[in-house]
């Protein structure tokens, strides 16, 4: 029973709640939004137990939608998407709570958009019909566009439109590719359908040059979203200008849609292209550039939020390397880093947002020595930074170690180079910590900073718990991922 309606409920509930929240008086909106996102999370938690690791696609629901075009409403999750769905429902209540005092104008609109965004993100991860996937992929653009554009920083209009146009540019080419696939499979089998399983099963006689074009279209859409170097330039702008909750969701979930797209569509659909020498070289090189260049640029950022944004480019470079290495460890590691990055970077953005609310500056040089004033804040920032660096005992270590371990068998040289990325990460984050927390307390504006409030602790503690849990005992995650990762590798790499 639960299995049949849960995903649909996860998609529908936020929309219903959004409609209610939109018409509430401003002071009450956030309470209802928090309640709605908590319900959403509660709905999704049993997925963790009900999920059978070896069961392939589960919690399926399938209904006719636009019959004349063979479009169906099909949703389901497997070991790849399960964690993305849970990560989304986990981060949403925290995002609402984290915006509690940050958002002061047009609150009902903001929280309604957050809820609509939830539907869009979950929809992307659970859609098993390419039309549905595309619709969800685009639908989540609008709330994000508004969140950046209405509630963002000074340069928000530029950031919002840049975010929108970049994403749309990539996704529209993907749209054409989806249509070509649909017609190709339709002509070959006589059944015109956008169903993921149908298209996947009937792609073997794809013309070689055509599959290069199609892969290119999918690649562009996902690479912009990841973002891979050199398609990453929208990211720092969007991250910096977005309000805290917007940055958390952008980093935590939206970026994962790109890597998820590679795992779900680009790799299984076009294995020969994806594993051809040229594409391997290109992807691995771009990932390495992302890791190294992202880290180096992060190091020289004066703006803490921009520093975190560039560190995302580096982390996602690791993920791409892990995916393309296609060994069991590296794919599991990539999936784990996708989760970890959501948690650790999300926490970093929350922390920066909290200190920004007090001091109204994101510049690193505006702080210094504040560990003495706000010890709790300093402690948590340090733990989270260490997890982002990948210190053993935190989640960051497990994920990146698995990627490096797995990728070493496929790309030894590239992996050796990537390892320096971990060192660079340590350099930029520790240096930033030193300048923010530990140098002499030489600015008297900083002397009266107040430490974290109970509400802020409630936001951060779940994140800290997950950082340590995954760091110490990642097994429940890995066992649930393993069959899906194995299946992906077999699909792409038939032995």
């Amino acid at each position: 029973m639960y299995a049949r309606w849960v995903l649909t409920a996860l998609l529908a509930w936020p929309l219903v709640a959004a409609a209610v929240v939109l018409f509430l008086p401003a002071p009450r909106a956030k309470y209802v939004a928090l309640f709605a996102t908590l319900v959403e999370f509660a709905l999704s938690v049993p997925l963790w137990w009900e999920f059978a690791p070896a069961g392939g696609m589960q919690f399926l629901a399938d209904y006719a939608w636009i019959a004349p075009w063979g479009i169906r409403y099909t949703v389901g999750v497997d070991g790849i998407s399960l964690f993305m769905v849970l990560l989304t429902t986990f981060l949403m209540p925290l995002s609402v709570l984290g915006s509690w005092s940050y958002i002061t104008k047009q609150e009902p609109g903001f929280y309604a958009l957050l809820l609509v965004l939830t539907t869009g993100m979950i929809g992307v991860f659970v859609a098993l019909d390419l039309f549905l996937f595309y619709v969800m992929w685009e639908v989540m653009l609008i709330p994000m566009y508004f969140i950046i554009g209405v509630w963002g920083g000074e340069n928000r209009l530029y950031a919002a439109i840049k975010f929108f146009i970049y994403t749309m540019f990539g996704s529209l080419l993907m749209l054409v590719a989806i249509l070509v696939l649909y017609l190709h499979v339709g002509q070959a089998t006589g059944t015109y359908s956008f169903a993921y399983s149908h298209i996947l099963a009937n792609l073997h006689n794809l013309d070689n040059s055509l599959s290069w074009w199609l892969f290119g279209a999918f690649f562009l859409a996902f690479a912009i979203k990841v973002p891979m170097f050199p398609f990453h330039t929208w990211l720092p702008d969007a991250h910096v200008e977005a309000p805290t909750a917007g940055s958390v969701i952008l980093a935590g979930i939206l970026l994962k849609m790109g890597t998820y797209g590679f795992l779900r569509f680009a790799l299984p659909f076009f294995p020969t292209v994806a594993l051809s020498g040229t594409v391997q070289v290109v992807i691995v090189t771009l990932s390495l550039i992302g890791i190294i260049y992202g880290g180096l640029v992060a190091m020289v950022q004066p703006d803490f939020k921009k520093l975190i944004a560039y560190s995302s480019v580096a982390h996602l470079g690791f993920v791409m390397l892990g995916i393309w290495a296609l060994t069991l460890q590296s794919v599991q590691g990539a999936l784990l880093v996708m989760i970890n990055h959501g948690i650790s970077t999300g926490a970093l953005f929350f922390l920066v947002g909290m200190i920004y609310e007090r001091r109204h500056s994101r510049l690193i040089e505006a702080y210094g020595g504040i560990a003495r004033v706000v010890p709790l804040f300093a402690a948590i920032l340090t733990i989270v930074s260490l997890s982002s660096i990948g210190l053993p005992g935190t989640n960051g270590f497990v994920g990146e170690f698995l990627i490096l371990l797995g990728a070493f068998r496929t790309y030894p040289v590239a992996t050796a180079v990537a390892t320096t990325g971990v060192i660079i990460a340590a350099a930029y984050l520790l240096w930033a910590l030193q300048r923010v927390l530990f140098n002499p307390l030489d600015k008297h504006e900083n002397e009266k900073l107040t430490d974290l409030t109970p509400r802020e602790l409630v936001v951060l503690i779940p994140l800290l718990v997950s950082i340590l849990w995954i760091g110490v005992y990642p097994k429940p995650f890995l066992t649930r991922m393993e069959p899906a990762a194995r299946q992906l590798i077999e699909q792409v790499h038939p032995k």
Binding site: W69, V150, I161, I165, V176, L179, V180
Partner: protein, 503 residues
């Protein structure tokens, strides 16, 4: 129900929608002859117009419901689903235009009920254009429509801009009609007939030649002019800009729709076997999409932006033409439904916002509309997203259908150009949303006098609801468009007996 057009009672039945509309036009003319001074007369004329459009739609529905079929020899008028569906579309355009005109005419003191009569005659011309099975009927319909719209464009007599628009439209339009007529003459010279089916049979038999191709090319020029395709679009921005806003909405939707409907019928029924036009249309589509979008990007006036955007949309429709086949025709119908709704919605908001020549309304003048008038801003935002082709709106379904038609015909490159052009269009549709939601009001009174009027609100609400409903649940519309698209086809057997025109 089989209808033989050589039997006069059947002929009357086939013409039923046109006859109903003409009868109403006569009633209105008589009414206007006595009562044409007060606001009340204007309103009565408006309501009579709505009644006329509704009863005509019912007449077309009756023929559709009784499955009217042609019997006997090829004749002057088509009897197929394409005709009924496009009739509804034109009537819908006219009805939406009438609804947003009520308040507009009163406010701008254009107290002349003849406005509505011209609207009806233009609609009648459109119906003849899409229903004509003979080049002469199509030409007559085109002229009937054009003459009425020339006058409508200049309806704001006291405004020099409106007069300029009318004159410009008239001179260039007459020129284009000349092209069209000369094309028809050449085609007649090559094939000996003006009947589309008979031309189709001739062409299928290989009876082609330079003269035929020259004729087709001139025909294309004529239609491309009416549809405002690049490079025959020069008149469009100025005319759209100068004409009263509801008339602009009507021109951008109805007139364009009629030109395309006739073009679809002529190309599929008469020239399906003369494939040379496809390449011309391919290039027309590309330059229109690119040109329209790039030029729209440079506009700051909302009305001119919409004018160029309508040029860009003509390009998308040309993609449907270029893909040929019945899928292209069906896609055209779905797209036009969406396009009409979103364009009329956008022009309606502009009409409410503007005063004395709306070309002065810049995109930035919408700043802060969302805080002052949230529903109006929401409506305009939906229209903009739909024009952009965003999922969840009918504009997306229409664009998707065109892409299916294009890729299905092997035109992958054209499909790719279409989506890239749509990315460009985000650069001018989004600033409208951005202004409304993300910029502060310029002054407290910036939106104080924005009035749509009760009926205008009805029109906008209906358009927005329809856009969203068709965006999520387009099944019924798709089926209707599919049968309509399939009902227009090339004559089946080229070996059919060569009969003289059945008139």
């Amino acid at each position: 129900m089989s209808l033989d057009l050589s039997v006069s009672s059947d002929l009357l039945l086939v013409l039923l929608p046109e006859l109903v509309l003409t009868a109403w036009a006569m009633v209105l003319l008589l009414f206007v002859a006595w009562r044409h001074h007060t606001v009340r007369d204007l309103r009565i004329a408006g309501w009579l117009t709505l009644a006329a459009l509704l009863s005509t739609a019912v007449a077309a529905w009756w023929l559709w419901y009784n499955l009217a079929q042609p019997a006997g020899l090829p004749a002057m008028l088509a009897i197929d689903d394409f005709r009924w569906v496009t009739d509804w579309l034109f009537l819908g355009c006219a009805a939406l235009t009438a609804l947003i005109s009520f308040k507009y005419l009163e406010r701008e003191a254009l107290l002349a009920p003849e406005y509505y009569i011209l609207l009806i005659f233009a609609t009648l011309g459109m119906m003849l254009m899409s229903g004509g099975e003979d080049l002469m009927v199509i030409f007559l319909g085109l002229e009937l429509m054009s003459v009425a719209v020339y006058v409508l464009a200049g309806f704001d007599r006291t405004s020099p801009r409106s007069a300029e628009a009318a004159l410009k439209y008239f001179l260039l339009g007459a020129f284009a009609s000349g092209f069209l007529l000369y094309g028809i003459a050449l085609i007649y010279g090559a094939t000996g007939t003006t009947n589309l089916t008979l031309i189709g049979i001739q062409v299928g038999l290989g009876g082609t030649g330079v003269m035929l191709y020259a004729g087709v090319a001139l025909l294309l020029v004529g239609f491309a002019f009416k549809a405002a395709a690049v490079p025959f679009h020069m008149w469009a921005p100025d005319v759209y800009d100068g004409a009263p806003t509801p008339v602009t909405a009507f021109m951008a939707t109805g007139v364009k729709a009629a030109a395309f409907a006739a073009l679809f019928r002529v190309l599929t029924e008469a020239f399906a076997h003369a494939a040379a036009w496809q390449e011309i249309v391919w290039w027309l589509a590309v330059v229109t999409m690119v040109g329209g979008n790039v030029l729209a990007l440079a506009q700051r006036s909302f009305k001119r932006m919409l004018a160029y955007s309508s040029v860009a949309h003509a390009g998308y429709l040309l993609v449907a033409v270029a893909s040929g086949k019945s899928t292209g025709t069906a896609a055209f119908i779905v797209y036009l439904v969406a396009y009409t709704l979103m364009t009329v919605g956008a022009f309606a908001v502009l009409a409410a916002k503007g005063r004395r020549g709306e070309s002065d309304v810049l995109i930035d003048d919408f700043a802060g509309l969302a805080t002052r008038r949230p529903w109006l801003a929401f409506a305009l935002a939906v229209c903009m997203l739909s024009l952009l082709g965003f999922p969840g709106t009918a504009g997306f379904i229409g664009k998707w259908y065109i892409l299916i038609a294009a890729t299905g015909a092997g035109q992958n490159l054209l499909a790719a150009i279409l989506v890239l052009a749509s990315v460009v269009s985000a650069g001018y549709y989004l600033p409208v949303i951005m202004a409304m939601y993300m910029k502060p009001e310029s002054s407290d009174q910036a939106h104080g006098d924005v009035r749509l009027g009760r009926l205008g609100e009805v029109a906008v609400a209906a358009a927005v609801v329809a856009l969203l409903v068709f965006g999520v649940w387009p099944n019924r519309l798709l089926e209707l468009a599919k049968t309509a698209g399939e009902s227009v086809h090339a004559p089946a057997a080229p070996a059919a007996p060569r009969t003289p025109p059945g008139n």
